[in-house]
Subunit: 62 residues, 6 copies
């Protein structure tokens, strides 16, 4: 019963719909477990609340 | 100083008030530690951002 | 389908056996959900890998 | 720069090698982001330290 | 490529801007790794969704 | 009462001792909170259990 957490910036629901399907397929293919044993949770964090290299994404030039 | 995280869909505050009290009691009873050493964090995720069996909860028939 | 994570120092299996039962009861009582929808994961961290007040537990006088 | 965490029981390295490749492909396909922006962390928890329905996996009949 | 998560109540962006810079410096100084290998994610939880001693912060006298 | 989690490969205890001190100072300086309200947990993951770009660190040429 694996539990997957995805830390990311906010994404459109259609992208999350596509990704949860593909991640679940990855478990079914790699581990041979039933799809309904796989949970996926998106933990979406706004651009003023995460970053790298010591800077928030909100402050990072694109 | 255990730290408890609860990943769940959004719930009413009264339910969370009740649960944090009961989870803390569980630690006091099982571990014999003081209640004030137990932290509980609810990580609430909307229905378009988690799911099982490859589908978002928002897309899952009830 | 809540997912509970417990960050703690290592504990005896009998204590974890007792706690998982009591935490699950807390969800059943507070939320009125079936016990088999509740997952609990213990994330045990040794004393040289966590701390408070700027000091590792391994370095903290009892 | 999504960060994926997989909570699971211990698995053979070959299975993890296969899964990290497939999960990363899922992000590349669904989000159109470069593979090297995707991190995956396996958080493996022994059978005496997680469970469902109020019981540790170590105590659950197969 | 360490990934840092900060569970906290909501804070002003200026405070997070300052903290992410200082936490990243801590890694550069202590580990001797480049700043751009350090990610920091703030997981902000409202006062009605976390607490200690069995009480939500929203219900705790200041 | 912020809770900091550091996902990383295994590091020597002396490095963790140094880092927990410096991270805690970062909170005291940036937020003006007492050091003893800051918890830090290192979640150390072996090289065969995490990676980027679709490959485990254990399989990645240095």
């Amino acid at each position: 019963m694996p539990v997957v957490t995805v830390l990311q910036g906010p994404r459109d629901v259609q992208l999350k719909r596509d990704l949860i399907s593909k991640i679940t397929d990855a478990f079914v293919d790699a581990y041979g477990i039933p799809a309904d044993t796989v949970q996926v949770w998106f933990n979406e964090v706004p651009a003023d609340s995460w970053g790298a290299a010591g800077k928030l994404i909100a402050d990072t030039p694109k």
